[in-house]
């Protein structure tokens, strides 16, 4: 970091240079873009979801939007809940097509039909189910791998393991989804003989592949960040390598591991392509892990291309986007602030 000092002495006073001034201000303003984008994301996703909160206003908006074209030319989704009936003509009579609080907290997600139901419970449970399966599967493996590579492996081995697992992060989620759809689903069916080929379990296992790299990286970082003197003191007192790892380094790094779990959770909760391809996409409210589920992100991904601009379904999908944004935001913020503060405190011995 630069040492910033202003020369206030008369003879050495800074000359005003236009180039310098411009460079600094351009750089400064460009760096605001990331912050602005966050605000823009929230504002504009929220803006499209806003009619939910004021049904009266919504009706006027829909009239306007009705004149605009329907969006997208993709073929209809093959899943049964997605038939195109009722999409082409907006239910203009408005009977029951409102997304009030009661409708949104209902137990059914049937956005198409005479009486559209926008119950978010099943898709929220779906997201939760897949995410939890992914964490239960991926996190132990990732954490153990991080323990091995940072505490047990020698330097050469570590320099191979780390980039190899980072390479897994470069697998596009659509490829993992494709792999799940074709290979994992078949394996799961052969082992468990399930009645639905695509289900929450298949999606969860595939999602674990996406969660592992992030949990591994963050855990590894926090394990290597534990000060050397702690483990050296333990070794000097006669503890073995694994005792040191388990009883000294691990406890010191718990907040970091907790952060890794949270970040993995956030990643899995918002991931779209894997669940869209591998979970069967049926909005069922059940706790059986071998039944198809539909998650919040997959709902947006599958249905957005087929809705009419501005109708209730459209705003509900944007509302799901707002929820996804807020949920992942909160999870990441907890991981960021709470955990980092705990870590700092611990290492500084305050």
């Amino acid at each position: 970091m630069f040492i910033k000092k202003k020369n206030n002495g008369n003879s050495l006073s800074r000359k005003f240079r236009l180039g310098e001034f411009l460079a600094e201000y351009i750089i400064k303003s460009v760096s605001f873009i990331s912050l602005a984008v966050i605000v823009l994301i929230f504002v504009f996703v929220f803006r499209e979801a806003a009619p939910i909160f004021s049904p009266e206003e919504k009706k006027i908006n829909t009239e306007e939007f009705l004149q605009s074209e329907t969006y997208g030319e993709e073929p209809s989704d093959s899943s049964p809940s997605n038939s195109l009936e009722g999409y082409s003509s907006f239910n203009g009579d408005g009977t029951g097509d409102v997304a009030d609080f009661k409708n949104l907290t209902g137990k059914d997600w049937q956005p198409v039909g005479e009486n559209p139901k926008y119950g978010l419970i099943p898709i929220f449970i779906g997201s939760l189910k897949v995410t939890i399966i992914a964490i239960l599967f991926g996190a132990p493996i990732a954490i153990l791998a991080a323990i091995y590579s940072s505490l047990f492996a020698n330097k050469k081995l570590r320099e191979f393991i780390k980039p190899a697992i980072e390479l897994l992060a470069s697998f596009p989620s659509v490829v993992i989804g494709f792999f799940a759809l074709i290979t994992i689903a078949t394996i799961v069916q052969n082992i468990f003989g399930v009645s639905y080929r695509l289900n929450a379990f298949v999606g969860g296992v595939a999602m674990a592949l996406a969660v592992i790299p992030i949990v591994y990286t963050v855990t590894e970082d926090s394990l290597t960040a534990v000060p050397k003197y702690m483990s050296e003191a333990s070794l000097a007192l006669g503890a073995t390598k694994w005792q040191t790892a388990l009883f000294v380094v691990m406890p010191a790094a718990t907040p970091g591991i907790f952060a890794a779990l949270l970040l993995g959770f956030g990643r899995a909760f918002g991931e779209t392509m894997i669940v869209l391809m591998a979970t069967g996409n049926a909005p069922l409210t059940s706790f059986n892990i071998f039944e198809p589920v539909r998650t919040m992100s997959a709902t947006v991904g599958a249905e957005m291309a087929e809705v009419v601009f501005g109708d209730t379904h459209y705003t509900v999908l944007f509302f799901i986007g707002v929820l996804l944004f807020i949920i992942t935001f909160v999870i990441n913020a907890i991981a960021e602030f709470y955990v980092r503060a705990r870590l700092m405190k611990r290492f500084r011995g305050e």
Binding site: S34, V37, E69, L167, F178, I182, Q243, R267, G270, L276
Partner: protein, 301 residues
Amino acid sequence: MMMNNKILGKGIVVISAISVVAIIASLIFILFEIYSGGKSFLTWEFITGYPKEGMTEGGIFPAIVGTVLLVLIMSVACVPIGTITAIYLHEYASRKSVLTKMIRFGVNTLSGVPSIVFGLFGLGFFIQFVGTGMDKVFSEPGQLQWGQPNILWASMTMAFLTIPVVIVSVEESLKTVPDDLRAAGLALGATKWQTIRKIVIPNSINGILTGTILAIGRGAGEVAPILFTGAAYFLPNLPGKLTDQFMNLGYHIYVMATQSTDVEATKGIQYATAFVLLICTFSLSFVAIYIRYRFRQKIKS
């Protein structure tokens, strides 16, 4: 007791080693599985040909071109923004100011936003707001030109998604530029901006390069942000202007695997497309990791 401890210790080492092996094995398994499924389709004609017979035959050339164009337009936006932000955060900003903390928080948050939310944002902001606004100004009344999904809006959406990737990478390499170099530059009478331009940036060019490569890899692989901002199922022509829609490798896989009328018939094409995409992102990531590794070695010596 002593004995049990020893067993426990060995057990932990063995179990954690198995986890590592399991992860690397699944990585190799995915690669192998996708390669063996698609290898008979991986021909030169497949790479350079157009889809034929309602997508059941032919190649994926338009999807490759679409993906390349997408990441190119995206890089033009995200690499400068990311690099400049990193320079600001590391060279200009004082670490303790509220402003810096806010920007840092913004970057961290941005990297955690789900990709599908970026897609919604692209639709709500670029298409509905910017595009429709541009149509009101530039186009004939009643004509939709910018206010609909196209490759420009898809690339911009993707650029916002990949900005944090560039920032993290560039900042990491800025940290490795020794302060002595900066001090030397300033001592010779160079101004701050001259020092940054002539000394700091050339010395961290590897970070900008890795950042760009990682961003391209990410942008090529993500599908959710472009689902409703510009990707198309099938187009007879390559995109010729910014308001055209485009085909995309990832989107191609998604549509072929879940929505085409005869999924079984195109399985080989799906595998081969997935392999092409996987090899692209995999090798980009490999190159980035290699550059970073080489650079770290250089620093150490």
